[in-house]
């Protein structure tokens, strides 16, 4: 891969992304273990269980959140000269907010039940998905503003 190819990640970004994926892999393993423990532990009397869909969303989005935030904080999210990040993150804000608001409204109106028969339903997974998308985009835009402040005055 040519270093002069400005459509790719540079060497520092590649290193950072490798580290990020490594962390994401470990977080994924941790989530699998946590899920198995939760399934056993929370199924006992007196505890509130979490349904399969919500547990799956947690197991998927927590590693994605960790990896994405790591990439963004280490400026390894966008390729050299790539400019599409703002559009994607804008979409994340919209979809995240939509997901959270719709779910909260549906729970408040009673059309879906948050906890049924001692088990948290799909609502938790939907809210967490929206929150993760929102969180990633917030970190992105904050980092963008910080970078603008840091690199604003060209030297």
């Amino acid at each position: 891969m040519s270093m002069m190819n400005n459509k790719n990640f540079d060497e520092r970004q590649i290193l950072a992304r490798g580290k990020g994926f490594q962390i994401g892999f470990l977080v994924s393993l941790g989530m699998i273990v946590a899920d198995l423990l939760a399934e056993d532990f929370l199924s006992n009397d007196g505890f509130i269980g979490i349904n399969v869909y919500s547990r799956a969303m947690l197991c998927i989005w927590i590693p994605i959140l960790v990896v994405s935030v790591y990439f963004i904080l280490n400026d390894a999210y966008e390729k050299i000269n790539e400019t599409g990040g703002k559009a994607l993150m804008g979409m994340f804000v919209f979809v995240g907010l939509f997901e959270i608001i719709v779910t909260v409204v549906r729970v408040a109106s009673g059309s879906i039940i948050f906890v049924e028969n001692g088990v948290v339903g799909d609502a938790l997974g939907q809210i967490f998905t929206g929150a993760a998308m929102l969180g990633i985009s917030v970190v992105y835009f904050v980092k963008l503003a910080l970078n603008k402040k840091t690199f604003g005055d060209e030297e």
Binding site: S2, M3, M4, N5, N6, D10, E11, R12, Q13, D75, I80, N81, N147, T150, F151, E154, E155
Partner: protein, 78 residues
């Protein structure tokens, strides 16, 4: 790692911004900034590319003088 002032000075001699140097070398501006701040140690390939663009040698941009009293006698690369 210490800041690399030599790159900044060489850039100024050529009247180049960090963005322009990063683009010429083929890295992101954040990477070039990290190199100048001493937060990232570039590969020899990237060092050579920077030297080529700035018209300097590796020694001029990336070598620091051996500290007096150093016991191993080795110079240290930034």
């Amino acid at each position: 790692m210490a800041r690399n002032i030599a790159i900044k000075v060489a850039r100024a001699e050529k009247d180049m911004t960090q963005t322009a140097l990063a683009k010429a070398v083929g890295v992101s501006r954040q990477t070039m900034n990290a190199i100048e701040q001493g937060d990232y140690n570039p590969t020899i390939k990237l060092c050579r590319a920077i030297c080529r663009v700035l018209g300097k040698t590796l020694d001029e941009l990336f070598w620091i003088d051996e500290e007096p009293g150093s016991s191993d006698g080795n110079s240290e690369r930034r």
